[in-house]
């Protein structure tokens, strides 16, 4: 059952019970008091009548000092006539409880009379057809006789009012309930609005729209729930975006890899096919064989680089205290054979915590890239500086530079700023991807500052030896 319907239903049940009970109690209370008043009145009247009767009996001229039945009847008739306007009826009975005088319409049995003892007064409420009466009974001591006086007072009015009260209350309760249902419906709809909005949001999200957010319409617990739901959706969306990015990156990688694989393969297959199916002259045979060789080498280089990346990703880095001087000297000796460029080394002596083989790989890659980007004879600066945050390595060239929109892409595998140019210099587009991987193992990253035509400055910061030991322990 819907929550709003439950809410309406329960409110209605409680309202009906409260209204019904309170109405019943109220009407009954009014009835009880009215009836009591009527009874008191009837009793008073009874007393007055008794007194009047006794007085009248005293004033009757007596024969033999005895009150005759006829005289009793006479007095009663007189009393009856006096009380006609108040719709009062009476009955007088003798000692043996035989009726001496009965008013017209006095329609009651002798039950009350039977119960009435001497010097006692009694009453009861009886019903006769449509009418309700208060019947009272008492002794009358007149001269030597003890008579019984009964009165019958019509109290139908009180009962009628009670029935009226009930009916009015019933109608009012029904009316109130109808109004209540209408109003409660609106209230329930208003109260459950956050729930409906949340339901809609969950459905939208289930259907794949992760950017959908529920509107917050209240400041209560449901409003808080909406906020929490939205922050959950936020986290979810972020995660999904991240996953999608990762999938996209993986797809891009596979696509790029397939492309990079196909290019040398096309040449190798094509030239090999030519060699086996054609009679070629010596020059063409050599050309074909050479292409097969160089393209095969290119594939080899690519697979080795890929392997490097995979090994770096999986492998364990051996962190140790490394002197920056040893790193720079090693690089210097590596690049001595390269006479086309002018290398300038400036560095501070310090110690860093790193895997020296991996860091040398990064530096060689950066220098290689700098050479590829520069014209022969230009300057390449290799710098090492102590800084607050650690030790900064920088490789600066004055070559072609990297367009700003491509700077965040260059660490992607197979990405080349100038494809034909890098490829003609034996690049596979994997160097910076490897560097990024190695540096992430060192909790560092490549920082690129470059402008097309002005050259690039690519650097990274390693933490200095000494204060980092604790960190390394935590991380490994």
């Amino acid at each position: 059952m819907k929550f709003s319907i439950k809410l309406v239903l329960w409110t209605m049940i409680i309202m009906a019970l409260t209204l019904g009970l309170s109405g019943f109690y109220f009407v009954n209370y009014v009835f009880e008091t009215s009836l009591e008043r009527e009874i008191n009145q009837a009793m008073d009247e009874n007393s007055i009548l008794r007194f009047a009767f006794e007085t009248a009996a005293l004033n009757v001229p007596l024969k033999y000092g005895v009150l005759q039945d006829g005289t009793v009847e006479q007095i009663a008739s007189n009393l009856e006539t006096g009380g006609q306007d108040v719709r009062r009826m009476l009955r007088l009975s003798d000692e043996e409880k035989n009726a001496l005088y009965i008013s017209d319409g006095f329609d009651a049995d002798n039950e009350l009379l039977e119960q009435t003892k001497e010097n006692q007064r009694a009453y009861r409420v009886i019903r006769s057809g449509e009418h309700f009466y208060v019947q009272t009974a008492s002794n009358v001591n007149a001269l030597d006789r003890v008579l019984y006086l009964e009165t019958l007072k019509d109290v139908s009015e009180v009962f009628y009012e009670r029935a009226m009260g009930y009916s009015v209350y019933r109608r009012m309760t029904i009316l109130m309930l109808i109004f209540g249902v209408i109003i409660m419906n609106f209230i329930a709809a208003w109260l459950t609005k956050p729930i409906r909005l949340l339901t809609k949001a969950t459905k939208e999200m289930a259907a794949g729209d992760y950017s959908y957010r529920a509107n917050k319409v209240s400041n209560d617990e449901l409003g808080q729930l909406t906020l929490d739901f939205n922050s959950m959706a936020e986290a979810l969306e972020e995660n999904i975006d991240k996953l999608e990015d990762e999938i996209q990156a993986r797809e891009d990688f596979v696509g790029a890899f397939a492309h990079e694989l196909k290019t040398p393969l096309t040449s190798i297959i094509g030239y090999a096919d030519m060699l086996r199916s054609r009679k070629l002259d010596e020059e063409k045979s050599f050309l074909s064989a050479n292409y097969i060789y160089t393209e095969g080498k290119r594939l080899e280089a690519m697979s080795l680089r890929l392997l490097d990346i995979i090994v770096t990703k999986r492998g364990e880095a051996k962190f140790q205290k490394v002197s920056t001087e040893s790193l720079f000297e090693y690089i210097r000796s590596m690049f001595i054979p390269n006479e086309a460029m002018e290398f300038v080394y400036t560095y501070d002596k310090a110690f860093v915590r790193a895997d020296s083989d991996l860091i040398i790989t990064v530096l060689i890659n950066l220098l290689d890239n700098a050479c590829k980007a520069s014209e022969p004879g230009s300057v390449i600066e290799v710098k090492g500086n102590q800084e607050e945050s650690g030790y900064r390595f920088t490789v600066r060239d004055y070559g072609i530079g990297i367009p700003i929109e491509e700077q965040d892409k260059i660490t992607q595998a197979f990405y080349m700023v100038d494809k034909s140019r890098s490829r003609s210099r034996n690049g596979a587009g994997l160097g910076l991807a490897l560097c990024a991987e190695i540096l992430s193992r060192h909790h560092s990253r490549l920082e690129i500052d470059s402008a097309p035509g002005e050259g690039s400055s690519i650097g990274f910061v390693l933490r200095k030896e000494g204060k980092e030991e604790e960190n390394e322990k935590i991380n490994h």
């Binding site: 290019t263 096309t266 094509g270 030519m274 199916s277 054609r278 292409y291 494809k419 140019r421 490829r423």
Partner: protein, 217 residues
């Protein structure tokens, strides 16, 4: 002579296409980027352009946009093998789309097919007294019509397109029967034998030991 422009950023691939198409009797010009391709088209007339998509500078799609109004037939040659890439290439108005790595035989066949469509290729090929009408799929020997089955004709066409090239059994199977090559199948040999007999090519259609057959002219 039919002139073909080859546009590919890889020199080895340019050379490969160049060598093979030149051997098939075409005149080839190779350039390595989009701008140079457009310059070459400006300067010279070409009957066909073989166009790579991933080019430095101006990419293949842009070059295609430039070529389209000139009504020069274009075959895209790309490592992009996905259907949407092919559809994009063909929608731009290319006549064919060849995926790298490709077989030389296939390249030559596609080039011939596109040129035939533009009525630029030779419609008739002559080997001795045998005349092959490629368009009408009719073969005559010394003026007399010879009836060939479909497969026989396809086989003959492949030999004619690759004169003096040793065609491997698996290549022949792949191209003519478009199916798996079974080492012990004699179907190919039977067809070759029938071709020799029907067209009197015993001297020209020679078996190459352990390889396949070659049409020597």
């Amino acid at each position: 002579m039919i002139r073909i422009l080859i546009v590919d950023d890889e020199k080895p691939i340019c050379d490969l296409i160049d060598l093979n198409l030149s051997a098939a009797g075409y005149y080839c010009v190779a350039v390595q980027d989009g701008i140079k391709a457009i310059e070459a088209i400006e300067k010279d007339n070409f009957d066909l352009v073989l166009l790579d998509i991933m080019l430095p500078g101006v990419d293949g799609y842009d070059v295609m946009e430039y070529i389209r109004p000139l009504k020069i037939p274009v075959i895209f040659i790309s490592a992009k093998h996905e259907v949407r890439d092919r559809v994009k290439g063909l929608k731009l108005g290319a006549d064919d789309y060849l995926v790298k790595p490709f077989e030389v035989v296939e390249l030559v066949a596609r080039v011939e097919a596109v040129l035939r469509r533009y009525n630029k290729a030779e419609k008739q090929v002559t080997i001795g007294d045998v005349v092959v009408d490629v368009e009408a799929r009719r073969v005559t020997k010394a003026g007399r019509s010879v009836v060939l089955t479909n497969k026989e004709f396809e086989l003959l066409l492949l030999f004619v397109e690759n004169k003096n090239v040793a065609l491997f059994r698996e290549t022949l199977y792949e191209k003519v029967w478009e199916g798996e090559y079974f080492a012990d199948s004699r179907t190919l040999d039977l067809h070759v034998q029938r071709l020799r007999k029907k067209l009197g090519l015993e001297q020209n259609l020679v078996a190459v030991y352990k390889v396949g057959y070659r049409l020597e002219v």
